[in-house]
């Protein structure tokens, strides 16, 4: 019920919403992410032409099509490398990658680690629903043990990964978590992530009400939610962030960790200042080296 109410609240789309109607099921958490993202981009005062949102494949990866800005709905698992290529080629564009847990932590798992390591200045919004929704209900890397899906008829038996813990271990510059039932908080979190220089990761608990339990999920999760802001957490304290993530019963919302370090773009600029910068005409002179 919560999510449906949220859908309506933002009906007259902000300038970042396209007219395309989402294919998502009623009650899907992804509506909230779409609205929060559109609000956030609008609030940041960005021109629609200067934003690009890149995705792979999955329910949540349909999101770019519902935005009014540049976008790329690509192939399964490859949102991050495409976003990386775009950002490095066009550093002044605000680039985001969006997608689900199967896209980002199963088929595309390799890329997330390297984007975090390189500190590409993009924001990655993970809509974590713990299931493969678009293919109608198979186990995902974040499905809890014991949960019955179409491919785990007797209950899931593989230990799920914990996205926040993984991202912290990858050296991700910014790690935060939001919840689809709290659009206001999510909007603020996404805004902070976009503004943060470097690779920023926003994990969004975005329930699938069709294949991963019903709408009661919103209430069950709500009971476990606590806000990081309220406990005086130091976002630069890695151990403290890690300790919070390890509290498995609590869903912590807010910014867990941030570390300002050189972005890939900054290292490139630094590198370019060191190399012997060539004028365009110098291209011809390269041939002399081979003579």
């Amino acid at each position: 019920m919560e999510a449906k109410a949220e859908q309506k609240a933002d009906k007259p789309a902000a300038r970042f919403r396209s007219s395309a109607k989402p294919i998502w099921c009623p009650g899907c958490g992804d509506y909230a992410v779409l609205n929060a993202l559109a609000r956030s981009l609008d609030g940041l005062g960005l021109a629609v032409a200067d934003v690009a949102v890149i995705s792979g494949i999955g329910c949540s990866s349909r999101l770019p099509g519902y935005l009014n800005c540049y976008g790329f709905n690509s192939i399964h698992g490859r949102a991050i490398p495409i976003a990386t290529g775009l950002k490095l080629a066009r550093p002044r564009i605000t680039v985001l990658a969006v997608g689900g847990d199967g896209d980002g932590f199963a088929i595309g798992g390799n890329h997330v680690m390297h984007a975090a390591r390189r500190n590409i200045d993009i924001t990655y919004i993970m809509m974590d629903n713990g299931i493969y929704g678009l293919t109608k209900g198979q186990v995902s890397p974040t499905t809890p043990i014991g949960y019955k899906t179409k491919t785990t008829a007797y209950g899931a038996y593989e230990k799920p990964i914990k996205p926040l813990e993984v991202m912290l271990a990858y050296g991700c510059a910014f790690v935060g978590q939001g919840f689809a039932a709290d659009i206001k908080h999510l909007t603020e979190l996404i805004t902070a992530a976009i503004k943060y220089p470097g690779f920023s990761y926003v994990n969004v608990i975005s329930p699938c009400v069709t294949y991963r339990g019903g709408r009661e999920q919103y209430d069950l999760i709500k009971q476990r939610v606590k806000h990081i802001d309220e406990i005086g957490h130091d976002v630069h304290d890695w151990d403290a962030a890690h300790a919070l993530i390890r509290q498995l019963d609590t869903v912590w919302l807010g910014i867990l960790w941030q570390e300002r370090r050189e972005t890939y773009q900054e290292t490139q600029e630094e590198l370019k200042s060191r190399v012997d910068h060539a004028e365009q005409d110098a291209i011809m002179e390269i041939a002399a080296r081979y003579r």
Binding site: D50, L86, A89, R90, I93, N110, L271, I283, I286
Partner: protein
């Protein structure tokens, strides 16, 4: 005296075989001789046996030559491994280090060659002249000067250039060793040499590998983004770009995997920057899905494949032409992509330009095929100049035109930039009216090419998609839309086939015998062609440089004029033959030679195959072919 010589070198790790090969080849290029240097390694990462082959000539060379006129050998043991590759001419001269004490009866060469062996105390000469044993490769270079009339001035110039950074002393030591070798040869060996090079000094030639040439061509074509993953034998392209791109305001990324490399290039290209990725067989397999994405989303993309022996890991350091099928047919779905194949070193450079031209104009992936032989061997460029440098930089142009607020002052003033008539965009830019009422990124057009906007272009916002879509880029599962968009995507290829009918050919105009080949095998076929024409059978070789879309009509009319056809390719499965047979009517008398790779195609095997199979005219001068085969 000869104007065309091939020398083989074999040795163990630490002997300096590769350096010696480079030295001999560079020396030739410095005095204006044409040269090809091929290198061959054992499986060891470092050390281990290696061999190289240098062929020089006063005319442009197209292939490495099969039989060598002379062999420089450090130990008889080293020859054993390369025996199948280093084949001698009948009168070949074999120079071996006297320090090797292998008894006469255990020397691994044919009996008739044994009196062609000369032992020279390389190590001793090196020690006497410089006090350094390792300088024996320089002594060998000196012996080559004295014995074979190898261009000494070229050797001197290259040593000075190569060791400049290590200081004058190193240069002097090396030169001393060369001189000592030359003096020894002139004093002791002069009369024995039947192998001598005849040349006249000319301007130095550019001496470059295929991998470097393709990277250079890409840079000149305006490429400013590369993502790649290390893979033999293509890594040099990534390494080259990693050095050069930052100097030209470009970006080069070593990606985490092959898939990522292709996708990063797609991301950059979506952003309006000309982008390339380079790989070999296994990487091309991994990139297929991304290439399919570039087909459906219509993103320009250049993919270089320096082919190696396959399948799977296959033979990473060895040449083969076996990626034709995957290059043309690799994607799932109806997945047309342009496939180009370089026939020689000039084309490595030229086709890099062509690849970007086609990719940008037709918003399509282009696969450019090289092979390990072209990629790793070093060649003198012949008839091309490092001529054009395409100043078209799509995103710079867009920014100047549409977003002056984003203009980078380093490029000078916008007015000046736009006043330059050579700047612009090869991509089809949306007209202002096309942006007015909703931009149709995948608009159905007569030629299949739709306007393509790019981030930061106001009014051009759209979502590029790998899912089937209507004109606006909205996803569609309508069979009518799918048909219409498929037709549009294939219409582009009709244009490409018309506008880029690229061939390499040689021989006479109205041939009776046609030789159809592709890629670097063209080189050996050129020499075959000359021999058959001399022997009285009018012959022509045709090698399409564009393999998809193949210019069917031109090839068919060429085939229709032939009496006999031979196809030649270096892969086990006859991939090219099966490909053309599916679409073309071949003459009844058609013969197809192909064998697994590992080594480039040799002249003798091609000659033997043709002689054995085809019908020869009554007045055919057999002796010309036989003479060549008897070398």
């Amino acid at each position: 005296m000869s104007t065309d010589l091939a020398i083989g070198i074999a040795g163990a790790g630490g002997d300096g075989v590769i350096l010696l090969g480079e030295l001999l080849a560079q020396a030739a290029a410095k005095v204006g001789l044409h040269a090809i240097l091929t290198k061959s390694f054992g499986p060891q990462i470092r050390g281990g046996e290696s061999s190289s082959r240098v062929r020089v000539s006063d005319h442009p060379l197209t292939w490495a030559g099969d039989k060598v006129d002379a062999l420089l050998l450090f130990h008889w043991d080293d020859l054993a491994r390369f025996k199948s590759e280093l084949v001698f001419k009948k009168n070949a001269q074999i120079i071996v280090d006297e320090a090797d004490e292998t008894p006469e009866d255990q020397i691994p060469i044919a009996e008739y060659l044994k009196n062609r062996v000369q032992r020279i105390p390389f190590e001793q000469i090196a020690v006497d002249a410089t006090g350094i044993k390792r300088a024996k490769n320089m002594v060998m270079a000196g012996v080559a000067c004295g014995l074979f009339n190898w261009p000494e001035e070229g050797i001197e110039e290259y040593i000075k250039q190569r060791f400049a950074k290590q200081g004058e002393e190193v240069v002097a030591t090396n030169l001393k060793a060369v001189l000592a070798g030359k003096d020894y040869a002139q004093a002791n060996l002069q009369e024995a040499s039947a192998v001598r090079l005849k040349y006249q000094r000319c301007d130095p030639l550019v001496f470059i590998s295929g991998n470097d040439a393709v990277a250079y061509g890409a840079l000149c074509a305006g490429c400013r983004f590369m993502a790649g993953y290390p893979i033999t034998p293509a890594s040099e392209i990534l390494e080259w770009m990693a050095r050069e791109l930052p100097r030209f305001d470009g970006v080069c990324v070593q990606a985490e995997d092959e898939i990522s490399a292709a996708c990063m290039a797609i991301g950059a290209s979506y952003g309006g920057v000309k982008a390339i990725t380079a790989t070999s067989g296994p990487g091309l397999s991994l990139k297929q899905e991304a290439i399919g994405l570039a087909v459906l989303a219509e993103i320009p993309l250049v993919v270089v494949d320096t082919q190696r022996g396959g399948p799977s890991t296959g033979m990473p350091t060895r040449t083969e032409q076996s990626d034709l099928n995957i290059a043309i047919y690799g994607g799932h779905g109806d997945c047309p992509r342009v496939v180009l194949a370089a026939t020689n070193i000039d084309e490595c450079y030229e086709l890099a330009h062509t690849a970007f031209d086609i990719a940008e104009r037709y918003q399509t992936p282009v696969i450019l095929l090289l092979d390990q032989f072209l990629g790793h061997s070093i060649f003198t460029l012949s008839d091309i100049e490092i001529h054009h440098h395409d100043p078209k930089r799509e995103h710079t142009y867009f920014i100047a035109k549409y977003r002056p607020d984003m203009w980078d002052e380093r490029f000078g003033s916008i007015e000046e930039y736009l006043a330059d008539p050579s700047v612009g965009s090869s991509r089809r830019v949306p007209e202002v009216e096309e942006l007015r009422d909703g931009f149709n990124r995948y608009k159905l057009t007569d030629d299949g090419v739709s306007p393509m906007s790019m981030p930061a272009m106001p009014g051009g916002e759209y979502t590029a998609v790998g899912i089937e879509h209507g004109e606006t880029s909205l996803p569609s599962s309508s069979h009518i839309v799918h048909q219409a968009q498929s037709e549009k995507r294939f219409r582009k290829f009709e244009q490409i086939a018309r506008n880029y009918a690229l061939f390499d050919s040689c021989g006479v105009d109205h041939p009776k015998l046609g030789v159809l080949t592709w890629g670097s095998t063209f080189g050996v076929c050129e020499e075959v062609c000359a021999l058959f024409n001399n022997a009285g059978l009018p012959t022509q070789v045709l090698a399409p440089q564009i393999l998809y879309p193949l210019p069917w009509q031109q090839i068919q009319s060429w085939l229709d004029g032939l009496e006999q056809l031979v196809t030649i390719e270096t892969n086990y499965g006859n991939q090219f033959y099966h490909y053309i047979k599916a679409f073309l009517d071949l003459p009844d008398a058609s013969y197809h030679y192909s064998r697994a790779g590992g080594i480039p195609m040799y002249l003798s095997e091609v000659l033997n195959f043709i002689m054995y199979n085809i019908t020869l005219p009554a007045d055919f001068k057999h002796e010309i072919i036989e003479e060549r085969l008897s070398w």
